[in-house]
């Protein structure tokens, strides 16, 4: 039985991929899971792996050529199996470069996506407002192509990305705190119906939102997040402010943080040896992560009809690359020591510049930080990365004259500006977060407490 090799969707937003390099030759034996080729997506260079055993009989794309997601790019089959029909079919569906993506027989989401990360952060376009313009990624476990004209009959595919579900299924899911968008529907056209909810509830196979809990006694980290239904006042605030300014009504809070003690701490640590070297940015990342843990209301996602407050802190850090901005994620940043954050931040920045980041390394952040201090920018405002509700812009650490007890002193200080999504975060809430951040940064020993 031959296995078709398709151009797979190797990133959430990928529509076509460029085959950079074949790693197997025609005639090579391959096993399921073997890396067949390197494929450049819109974000990174990824591995295309075999989905079946046999011999790589045919490569249908030359290195350097692009193919839309879902297009046949090769065939794995038994050594003497007749694959003429498959190859002819590929000819029919257009081996020409840049064939019509709409005619692609199938869209396959790479395995890496389904298992991506440990984060519970939504990945499907309909969940993530930031990706609302991307087409839905349809996934199908089998390799059998769907008829090209048929709407995808699975899960959240089809129908413009809306997960179809019966009213009863939605009601039960809501009562049980189940995230319906994570389910596959078994009804007509992939409709999620009662039995799908019940199956999910029995197996616990779904991304279960925890039952509402008292915010004061917030459950532990085993509950990745908590959904807070919108109150009327929250809805009104969201509507009115969005009318006033863009779809994300943003406001900005700027604070000047004194780095005197951070500088002292860095110096003291450096005296202990090079292995204890941390940058000011590392200290600030650690401080932000710690402050987020204490202010979950800004460590949140705006999901349109509710606010998802995350109990785990996955800190996005904006990295400039030659191709543009990308935001890799330090997962569970609040749980990591400063040395771990420091090493991970460096590693992620390197991978980003080399375009080696995997999708699970740049999706799932709960809050982001952008630092242009190294470019001598004194202060700036950053654009929120939806559905997050805040981002912190860090400027350059500068020596400034400060009046202290009537005397002029030189102090190292940094301006930080927090952009807040006013639909979710009010001014005072953002300000309290910055108060905590100030306390931590100006007393960095608290970060080791």
């Amino acid at each position: 039985m031959a296995t078709k090799i398709f151009m797979e969707a190797l990133s959430p937003t990928m529509e076509e991929g460029r085959l950079v390099k074949w790693l197997k030759n025609e005639g090579d034996a391959v096993k399921s899971g073997d890396v067949l080729a390197e494929v450049e997506t819109d974000k990174a260079v990824m591995e295309l792996v075999a989905r079946g055993d046999g011999v790589l009989r045919k490569r249908l794309v030359n290195e350097g050529e692009s193919r839309p997601v879902g297009q046949l790019v090769g065939v794995i089959a038994a050594k003497d199996e007749n694959i003429d029909a498959l190859v002819a079919e590929a000819g029919g569906t257009g081996t020409a470069s840049g064939g019509d993506a709409a005619k692609a027989p199938e869209k396959v989401v790479a395995q890496t996506q389904e298992t991506a990360g440990t984060s519970s952060v939504p990945r499907t376009p309909q969940q993530s407002q930031g990706e609302s313009s991307t087409p839905p990624q349809e996934k199908s476990p089998g390799a059998q192509p769907l008829p090209s004209a048929a709407p995808a009959a699975v899960g959240t595919g089809g129908n413009g990305g809306r997960a179809k579900s019966s009213p009863l299924a939605r009601r039960i899911a809501s009562e049980r705190g189940l995230d319906i968008s994570s389910l596959q529907g078994s009804g007509p056209g992939g409709r999620i119906i009662k039995r799908d909810i019940e199956a999910a509830a029995t197996t616990g196979a779904t991304g279960a939102a925890p039952p509402r809990s008292d915010r004061g006694a917030r459950a532990g980290r085993e509950q990745p997040f908590e959904d807070i239904p919108l109150t009327q006042i929250r809805k009104t605030i969201a509507r009115r402010l969005a009318e006033s300014i863009g779809p994300i009504p943003t406001f900005y809070l700027t604070a000047e943080l004194d780095l005197t003690r951070v500088v002292e701490m860095r110096a003291a640590m450096l005296e202990l040896g090079d292995e204890f070297k941390v940058s000011i940015n590392d200290v600030l990342l650690k401080a932000v992560a710690t402050a987020l843990q204490q202010h979950p209301e800004v460590n949140a996602h705006w999901l349109g009809d509710r606010i998802r407050v995350h109990n785990r802190v996955h800190l996005g850090m904006a990295v400039a690359t030659d191709d543009g901005l990308i935001v890799p994620v330090i997962f569970d940043a609040d749980q990591k020591r400063m040395s771990e954050i420091s090493a991970e931040a460096r590693q992620l920045a390197r991978l980003a510049r080399e375009r080696k980041l995997k999708p699970e390394q740049y999706t799932g952040s709960t809050f982001s930080v952008s630092n242009l201090g190294m470019m001598q920018i004194a202060q700036f405002t950053a654009i929120i990365n939806p559905p997050e509700v805040g981002i912190l812009a860090i400027g350059a650490a500068e020596d400034v004259p400060v009046l202290k007890d009537g005397e002029l002193q030189s102090r190292k200080r940094v301006h930080v500006t927090m952009s807040c999504d006013h639909r979710a975060v009010d001014g005072a809430v953002g300000a309290r977060f910055l108060q905590t951040l100030r306390r931590l940064v100006e007393n960095p020993l608290m970060l080791v407490y």
Binding site: S166, P167, L168, A169, R170, R171, S186, G187, P188, I193, K194
Partner: protein
Amino acid sequence: MAVITYRDALNQALREEMQRDDRVFLMGEEVAVYQGAYKVSKGLLQEFGEMRVVDTPITELGFAGVGVGAAMVGLRPVIEFMTWNFGVLALDQVLNSAAKMLYMSGGQYPMPLVFRGPNGAALQLSGQHSQSFESWLAHMPGVKVVTPGTPHDAKGLLKSAIRDDNPVLFLEGEMLYNTKGEVPEEEYVIPIGKADLKREGDHCSIVTNGKMALVAMQAADQLAKQDIRVDVVDLRTVRPMDIDAIKTSVAKTNRAVVLEEGWELAGIGAQVVDYIQRECFDDLDAPVVRVHQADVPMPYAKNLERLAKPDAAKTIAAVKKVMYIE
């Protein structure tokens, strides 16, 4: 309980009400000497005499109007149409006089009047004589529309209809007259506007009325052999409709098939589906499916007539569809 025919159940109801109240009288074509085209009025002429069991000429509009006038001056007429297919000739008296008299006279003239007769298709009576009128009639404010499907319901509801101070349009069925069922020996009445849960099951609701209640029961029997258990909600009255009964059943089963004898567009089923979507939206696990007559005049040819009529097989297919089976 005695097992009697639908025909005899109606006959008993007429006799008992005529005995109970001497203002009640029966009028229509062939009701007296001939004992009724379908023998519903058998023996009544002999018992009550020609002042209370009155043969009329073939003038539906005329004797319907006589009935309206009689009701206005305090009698309680029961007007028989040989079939509701002929009753359409009297529609002006039904629609413009009976249905509106109380309202337009400012409450001066109550209208304790029953129009009754067989409704819907029998066998091979072709397009003009095989029509279901419940949705036409139920469309009018000012009347009640009753469609009993069993002898028990026929007797209890006809007695209520005769005692009602409003015009009641009572729809029987030629194919029902010979059906048998248990009917209590003692006197009873069934309130108008109250549905009956004819069978209980938790997988799907079949909401129906009139003759189709029998079809629904046949379908339910066959479905039970496949371990599919359905609620059969027999509305019995289509105006006013028992919305609570529909709600209760659909809330339990989360699925509904609406089965009716007549045509699809603006049919009784359309109204039932509207109630379901309004009252049971959050209970639905599947879209509601309707079963009805094909959208054609009833064919005379036997094979085509069978294809045009709603039946148990179509009902079973609809149930399976809303249960996502096959």
